[in-house]
Symmetry: C2
Subunit: 378 residues, 2 copies
């Protein structure tokens, strides 16, 4: 098996960074210098000072997204700070370029309160056509994204929340088709109520209003439980309609769907056996899922999805964000809405002509993805 | 004559921005994705969280500079705001790439007080290996640059100040050689005490301690004059040693050197005739200089420099900043000092093997510039 840790350290050190800037034209002649810099550029500056709404017609902002993190929740590594976050943000910039042709600039923030992060991002926002927030810890990530969306007239998306939610919804749409379910009638148990879990619950509920029961490390979230932070309390507005109490095992009795964005090995074969017939299991903890696919299948699971590329049905944000931002930039979308996310999920699901238990969502390399998603982000 | 205003508007609109991002390697295979993004990148992140001082070895920060402006003093256009500034910052990014191979990211700030600018730049600074401040108005530019240099362990330079000062010093070194002067014995009249003028005065004084008399729109700066702001008051610590009063014309009597970073047409032939024999005239107001070269020469000037590329002796910041940042990045320099600027000026002057009145500094295209300057920035 490839030692990606060693390979990554070696290649990063060899290349000394993974992205670079190129000029779109030469600067060899006096005419070129005078066109792209002084004195010619002065005419463009004067024009944009008078018509700031035309910024994108004359600058790279029409194709440029910032990938911004404070390093407070990097991959599965936790709060490792801005330096630790930068290789991931550069990697994300590579993905933006590779999949969607978007120029993405990695920005790491050395400030950490919501006020400071909102101020810093707002101060630099006009430099970009959109903002991909990345690897910012819950619950601050919710407030930061909401406030920035209020403040700024450009598309902003915290991908850890919404990318995961979109692809999860896409996978569930096809999983229901395969197993003969209606999403609205499903009982869904969702473990993990951080950034991704919260966004998944909200998107699933707004899409089809299924019964959702959220579970955290202390058990089922219910009205009246102690130790519920404000963001988890908000989940109770549309989850756990019968206000049941108990453990994960209690929640799973008769459930149609398990979605885990939590911890390796959390879900046992015994628990799967108590679920409804032919249950759907999304074990998205990465790299080690909540249950290994072969164990889940042996316990009766009809469909298993994970976050890994070496198993079928990889729930990968890269299915969604390139097309979302491609569409937002090209179609002048100023706010990415819940409706956009639902449409994107339907597009992703629709690209699988005949969904099977082994293929509920397209692979990341599917070349139809970006343009198909972009077409509905308008 | 080429209509650069029209050409610039057309080309900017056609290209929709002048720079783009490219990936340094492909992302076609699963191995590449797993090396540059998850899971491999996690090893790089963990390593940098433990060894943040190695950030440059594994990310593009080793070759990446931010070009940052709040749009408060763009070209000769004044305070036209961030949108108006962005085409200039993108143009500067092109120059960085073209001349020095540096990846430069244009950042426009939508905040304008020194406190806000310092906070925003400090918050994002770890994303970059250096910071080129650009087109920020005096006197705020002085405080902003000083505070950021105090705060941040990366090379920072406000190019409007220091780029101009370095190239002016280079030109004066050779002008003195040609006219048989010692810079330390020169009487220099400097008109304009904004960003560039202040930096020129300081660098010339620290380099050779000549007699410098600063002049602004109200006449000679002297101890006791009304209407002197704090930054201009600082200039009096090392200029106007005899505390003379009067007008520009008064200051120029017997002067060896005129340096203007002020207004078109300010210097008359009559004034030049009252200067010392074979005076040196730097009329750097752009695009229309303080005096046209042919007028200055007819009045007795031995050497005339301007900011224009269509006259001999163009004092152009692009002679200095690419090599300064190339050296600072490559040699791990954390602070660009006055000593660095003096060395850079000497290198620029030294590249003209036999200076003449028509060539006191090398042309912008001189391919020796960047590596020669970079070699002394350490």
């Amino acid at each position: 098996m490839t030692d990606y840790a060693k390979l990554a350290l070696d290649k990063h050190k060899e290349l000394r960074g993974k992205i670079a800037i190129v000029n779109k034209d030469q600067l060899d002649s006096k005419d070129q210098l005078s066109t792209y810099y002084s004195p010619g550029v002065g005419a463009v500056s004067s024009h944009l000072a008078a018509h700031p709404e035309e910024l994108r017609d004359y600058t790279w902002t029409n194709n440029c997204v910032a990938v911004i993190s404070d390093g407070s929740a990097v991959l599965g590594l936790g709060n490792i700070g801005p330096e630790g976050a930068l290789p991931v943000m550069e990697g994300k910039a590579m993905l933006f370029k590779h999949f969607a042709g978007i120029d993405a600039v990695p920005i790491i923030l050395d400030v950490h309160t919501p006020d400071e992060i909102v101020s810093a991002v707002a101060a630099i926002a006009k430099s970009f056509g959109g903002i991909n927030l990345e690897d910012i810890a819950a619950p601050q990530c919710f407030e930061i994204e909401e406030r920035l969306k209020e403040l700024l007239p450009i598309p902003i998306m915290h991908d850890d929340q919404h990318g995961t939610a979109i692809v999860t919804l896409a996978g569930l749409i096809n999983s229901c088709k395969i197993t003969g379910r209606e999403l609205k009638d499903c009982k869904i148990v969702l473990v993990g109520s951080g950034a991704a879990g919260t966004a998944i619950a909200r998107l699933l509920y707004e899409y089809a209003a299924p019964e959702i029961i959220c579970v955290d490390s202390k058990g089922i979230l219910y009205q009246g439980r102690d130790n519920i932070n404000a963001e988890k309390a908000k989940l109770l507005a549309y989850t756990n309609p019968n206000n049941v109490e108990g453990s994960l095992a209690d929640a799973l009795h008769g459930a149609d769907v398990f979605i885990g964005v939590s911890q390796p090995g959390l879900l046992t074969a015994e628990m799967v056996q108590t679920m409804a017939k032919e249950p759907i299991i999304f074990g998205l903890s990465n790299p080690v899922p909540e249950i290994m696919p072969e164990v889940a299948h042996a316990a009766g699971a009809a469909i298993v999805a994970t976050g890994r590329s070496d198993f079928p049905n990889q729930v990968n944000n890269a299915l969604a964000f390139p097309g979302i931002f491609r569409g937002a930039l090209d179609n002048g979308v100023r706010k990415i809405t819940q409706a956009h996310k639902m449409k994107a999920a339907e597009v992703i699901a629709g690209l699988v002509a005949e969904p099977t238990a082994e293929q509920i969502i397209p692979p990341v390399g599917d070349e139809r993805l970006v343009s198909a998603i972009a077409a509905v982000i308008r």
